[in-house]
């Protein structure tokens, strides 16, 4: 084994580490720019969030160092134990969690408070990797597939009990990692299609969806013409899915909205997307309220966030010149809506670069995953990529009105100790495992 001869530092993946550091620094500057006042004297003022974020970064790097000097086998051997610990922590949190805006997902220990759901991602990733790398696991059997899915989703259920749905959804992203390990294609396709179709049928008119669906079906027919002629099953699948999609978008969604859901529920769903409720779905009381002009501004967050990002233009307003983000117009702009400050200050170019950095990091992690000798490391790496992907996709989507506002952070950029620390640990464990990629870890 040639790699073991080299020192640990030189065996670390430089690109991943660089991407990590660049993103963290961008995050610090973003939090700084949001809080900066022209009257401020000196850096690292007391009471400013970027000061505490810097401290969190210091802690994260320190923990990262510890991880790097830990034996890589320790992660695999302690995985189930850590998972058990995490589950217990989550259960405890259900009962003793601090009440923050109706959710009980924060634990208070002395002056510090943290979100176990955030940390538990690491344990779940490790446990999943451990389970799949066990020699007795055969992922082609339904039983083991169900166990794997259960490992991934048990924390989600507990977190939903804490009333923090957004965070719970993150655990569904492990499906991606499981897909890599052999879950059938159809699950991914069907799951993806349902999500897209659901959002589309809320955002677009029925006619538009009908046209798009028909267009997609026609494209498939043209592309698969020869195979369709031979394969009756394929024909059935195509026609069936087209029919189901039409049924869902043209009948199920309107029916649900008109007859089943209450006015406030509809309001909630649309405000999460940052959209006005279409008139067709408005109940009588709401119409009256609209006419009186007393409608509450439910989608204030997304509206302000879109204004901030949209006003950035091509090159942005410049560092520290973001009029919307600097002056508190976007709520939660240093945590969930940190992307606004990038979009406003650096415009399309800055946003595109940031997206490039994230996509680069995820691709790099998937490349790292594929070069692992041990299944444990590979599954773990894909788990990290999946979590990153979910956070990245949903967070940015919600700031630009593509996804409901479910309160999950932008990895490494958002202000918050729990989030930064857990992502740092995820990545440092990955770096540590990758440094020993030639070693077989079980």
């Amino acid at each position: 084994m040639p790699t073991t001869n080299r020192s640990l530092i030189s065996r670390l993946d430089a690109l991943t580490l660089t991407l990590y550091l660049v993103l963290v620094v961008i995050g610090l500057l973003a939090v700084f720019s949001v809080e900066y006042r022209s009257t401020d004297v000196g850096l690292f003022l007391k009471g400013k969030n970027y000061t505490s974020q810097t401290i969190f970064l210091g802690i994260s790097l320190f923990v990262g160092m510890i991880i790097l000097f830990t034996d890589s086998k320790a992660f695999a051997s302690g995985a189930f134990l850590a998972y058990l610990f995490g589950i217990i922590l989550l259960i405890v949190t259900i009962f003793f969690g601090k009440n923050v805006k109706g959710s009980h997902s924060w634990l208070q220990i002395g002056p510090m408070s943290f979100q176990p759901g955030e940390v538990c991602k690491i344990f779940t990733a490790l446990a999943l990797a451990k389970f799949l790398s066990l020699s007795e696991t055969n992922f082609h059997t339904l039983k083991h597939r169900l166990i794997a899915v259960a490992i991934a989703l048990l924390p989600a259920v507990l977190i939903i009990l804490q009333n923090e749905t957004g965070l719970a959804l993150v655990y569904f992203s492990f499906i991606l990692a499981l897909y890599r390990e052999g879950l059938p294609n159809s699950i991914l396709i069907i799951g993806f299609s349902v999500v897209v179709l659901a959002i589309a049928s809320l955002l677009l008119t029925q006619l538009t969806i009908f046209l798009i669906l028909t267009a997609i079906a026609s494209i498939f027919i043209v592309l698969l013409w020869k195979r369709l002629l031979i394969n009756g099953k394929l024909r059935l699948v195509l026609i069936g899915s087209y029919g189901v999609a039409l049924l869902f978008s043209q009948l199920v969604v309107p029916f649900t909205f008109k007859k089943v859901l209450q006015g406030y529920q509809i309001q909630r769903i649309y405000s999460m997307l940052g959209q006005e409720v279409p008139e067709a779905y408005l109940k009588h009381e709401e119409i009256q309220k609209l006419q009186v002009g007393k409608k509450k501004d439910d989608n204030y967050n997304v509206k302000q966030s879109k204004i901030a990002i949209g006003s950035g233009g091509l090159l942005g307003k410049g560092f520290l010149n973001g009029t919307s983000t600097k002056n508190n117009f976007v709520p939660e702009q240093h945590t969930d809506f940190i992307f606004c400050s990038i979009g406003e200050q650096f415009g399309f170019v800055g946003s595109a670069l940031l997206i490039l950095l994230y996509v680069g990091l995820m691709i790099r992690i998937s490349i790292l995953a594929e070069r692992q000798r041990s299944v444990f490391s590979r599954v773990y790496a894909y788990c990290v990529a999946s979590i990153l992907f979910f956070h990245f996709a949903i967070n940015i989507s919600m700031t630009i009105g593509l996804a409901p506002v479910i309160g999950i952070t932008l990895p490494l950029l958002s202000y918050g100790g729990s989030s930064l620390l857990s992502f740092s640990i995820l990545i440092f464990i990955l770096l540590r495992l990758d440094a020993d990629r030639a070693v077989l870890i079980r």
Binding site: Y179, R180, G310, S311, T323, V359, S366
Partner: protein, 674 residues
């Protein structure tokens, strides 16, 4: 498995890249193709702060300040910055208010601008309050003193022409002149403050600031690249003599009427008194509207500037102009005489004259000196009935033209607003009045300044300047220079010398000599000043008012016009005292004392008793004034109500007509025909 795994890793990477592309496309549209977000971002985050420069100071001819800006302190409160456990008792002690008042003020300030922004807690702190607050400021978080300028007047004089400032009204906002103003701006509402608003106000500074989600101003926008600094207002230097003005207001106390004194050589106004006068300090700052309505309610109407807004029949003060017109038309010569023996009989009903002795109107100079009514009625008739006009109507046209040139019948154009033009009838007006059948006998009273003629004290003084100058005048005005520049474009119209007619100097000389005789030997002897050739003319004007529905003759208006010295006139003055009696009793002494004060700077010892009599004299018949004013106000109210009623009636008539039309339509087209 390896190929499957290989394709699956590619699928995952495709998903990563695909999501990135979706986000990029959405961002592309959001940031590059939807400009509305830029506008919205500016709307919510940029705040236009207007900074008001101090208004210009107003000085008199000797550099004495008439009006300046006083810095006062308002106490502001930002409700959210006041701690919950704030001990208000100490603040109450410092400000000298009780707890209840504190509560009310607190609530008012909190709701005025919302809890996040500063609202005015207490206006215009007294010096003691401000000092005590300043010392203890640290113990009152959320409270702050802010500076504000208010107009202040060192002497309680000049309210009539200085005017006042106040918040702009919605009606004014619609005017072109004030289109650049915004709701809440202050501007001059009357007097010089209004006339020279653009000069006094200076230029507002505009600063663009970023604001936060609670509308609190933060940093300057784009580091102040778009800001314009404020430019201070320019000072006004007046012709007015502060001492003379103060003396005039003192002389006019307890009287109704006015004084206008003009320097004939420049047209500069030396004093303008409207009695009763008021302290301009009443109409400033926090108590302005309260004091304004109190002054407005007074029956003596102190807010009514009698010098430019009241018009009276000129009475005998008209006689010099009648003479000049007759001379100019060639109707008479200075040697013309009229055998008056106490009345004028030529037009049926006799016109009484105060003098009865023979020869009191043997020539023009004597007639002026003795103020012979018959003489002036006669020469008025002579000038309008002259053959060259071919009829009294053409003759009156000529007379009207002359009078107009002398400055009657139209505003003089003085530089304070709301001046009226008085009354001056031409032939058309008389045709209307008398249905076309009238002759020089119908309106012969015009010659002695009664009848369909009324002039403002401003016009009297201005026309007197023409006589004093022997034929020219400058439009009367207050402002000598704007910010030390006497040639400011807005003063250009006051620098134009107006030549009135081509009446030769000799004729003016005759008239002025007659006026000098008035003072030296005639009706106005009270106005004589040792060593100074004073020319004057008394006026005693009959006037009537409806009291309790009856036309009642009131006490005569006392009038006096004078200028001095005769050769090089330095002051021309017109004094009116309403319902006071003979011109020589009240107006004459006042005019004379004013001239003496201006020309010699003191009052001679032997004239102190006269001054004493004037100062002590109270000629306001309060009961009568109250009756007349109440009746007038009642009439105004009734007129207003009648107008409302008429509008309501015409509206219902229209409605009734409309329903008739509809009924007819239904009958004609919709109902079945029999």
């Amino acid at each position: 498995m390896s190929t499957a795994a290989g394709s699956r890793q590619l699928v995952l990477r495709a998903i990563f890249i695909g999501m990135g592309l979706v986000l990029l496309i959405r961002l592309l549209f959001l940031q590059l193709f939807e400009p509305k977000y830029k506008i919205m971002a500016n709307d919510i985050a940029i705040y236009r702060q207007v900074v008001y420069p101090p208004r210009g100071v107003i000085y008199d001819r000797n550099g004495k300040v008439l009006c300046y800006n006083e810095v006062v302190y308002d106490l502001q409160m930002t409700s959210n910055n006041v701690p919950r456990d704030f001990d208000s008792s100490k603040l109450c002690q410092v400000l000298g208010i009780d707890g209840n008042t504190y509560y009310n003020l607190h609530e008012r300030a909190k709701w005025a601008n919302g809890p996040m922004r500063p609202g005015t807690f207490l206006e215009q702190l007294s010096t003691a309050q401000a000092a005590r607050f300043g010392e203890n400021k640290y113990s009152f978080p959320g409270f702050d003193m802010v500076e504000r300028n208010i107009r202040s007047y060192p002497e309680p004089i000049g309210g009539a022409f200085l005017g006042f400032i106040g918040e702009i009204s919605p009606r004014l906002l619609k005017k072109d002149r004030f289109s650049s103003y915004q709701q809440g701006d202050y501007l001059g509402l009357d007097g010089l403050e209004l006339s020279y608003e653009e000069v006094l106000r200076g230029q507002r500074g505009v600063y663009f600031k970023e604001k936060d989600n609670y509308n609190r101003p933060r940093d300057s926008y784009l580091k102040g690249a778009l800001d314009t600094p404020a430019v201070a207002g320019q000072a006004l230097h007046l012709y007015l003599d502060e001492k003379l003005q103060a003396y005039g207001e003192k002389l006019m106390q307890n009287k109704l009427g006015s004084i206008v004194a003009i320097d004939p050589s420049t047209g500069g106004i030396l004093a303008m008194v409207s009695a009763p006068s008021y302290d301009p300090n009443l109409l400033r700052g926090a108590d302005r509207s309260k004091n304004f309505s109190r002054l407005y309610q007074l029956h003596t109407k102190p807010l009514f500037n009698r010098a430019i807004k009241a018009s009276y029949s000129p009475g005998s003060t008209q006689k010099p102009y009648t003479a000049l017109i007759a001379l100019d038309d060639g109707a008479i010569t200075p040697a013309f005489g009229y055998p008056c023996r106490g009345a004028y009989y030529a037009c049926g009903r006799p016109v009484r004259c105060t003098e009865t002795w023979a020869g009191h109107a043997a020539n023009l100079r004597l007639a002026i000196a003795n103020s012979c009514n018959s003489y002036f009625c006669h020469i008025y008739r002579l000038s309008v009935d002259e053959d060259k006009f071919g009829g009294v109507k053409k003759g009156l046209e000529d007379w009207y033209r002359h009078m107009f040139l002398f400055g009657f019948g139209h505003p003089t154009g003085v530089d304070i607003p709301y001046e009226i033009g008085g009354t001056l009838f031409d032939s058309t007006d008389y045709n209307k009045l008398y249905n076309g059948s009238w002759n020089s006998c119908t309106n012969l009273f015009l010659g002695m300044g009664q009848g369909e003629l009324s002039v403002t004290p401003m016009q009297m003084a201005n026309s007197l300047c023409i006589v004093a100058n022997h034929g020219f005048f400058y439009v009367p005005h207050f402002v000598k220079s704007i910010g030390n520049n006497p040639k400011d474009p807005s003063l250009a119209r006051f620098l134009v010398k107006h030549e009135v007619t081509n009446i030769p100097d000799t004729m003016y000389k005759t008239v002025t000599l007659g006026m000098m005789d008035v003072v030296n030997a005639g009706t106005g002897r009270v106005a004589r000043l040792p060593g100074i050739e004073v020319c004057g003319k008394t006026g005693t004007v009959e006037n009537y008012a409806f009291i309790n529905g009856k036309r009642t003759k009131l006490q005569n208006h006392s009038m006096f016009v004078a200028f001095a010295p005769r050769g090089h006139p330095k002051i021309a003055i017109a004094v009116t005292v309403e319902n006071a009696g003979y011109g020589a009793t009240w107006a004459g002494p006042i005019a004379s004392l004013m001239m003496e004060k201006y020309l010699t700077d003191t009052i001679a010892k032997n004239r102190l008793p006269l001054q004493e009599r004037i100062l002590k004299g109270n000629v306001i018949n309060m009961r009568q004034v109250t009756l007349i004013d109440s009746a007038r106000r009642a009439a105004d109210q009734a007129r207003y109500e009648r107008r409302l009623q008429n509008a309501a009636v015409s509206d219902s008539v229209k409605r009734a007509y409309d329903s008739l039309v509809i009924l007819r339509y239904i009958k004609t087209y919709l109902l079945p025909k029999k």
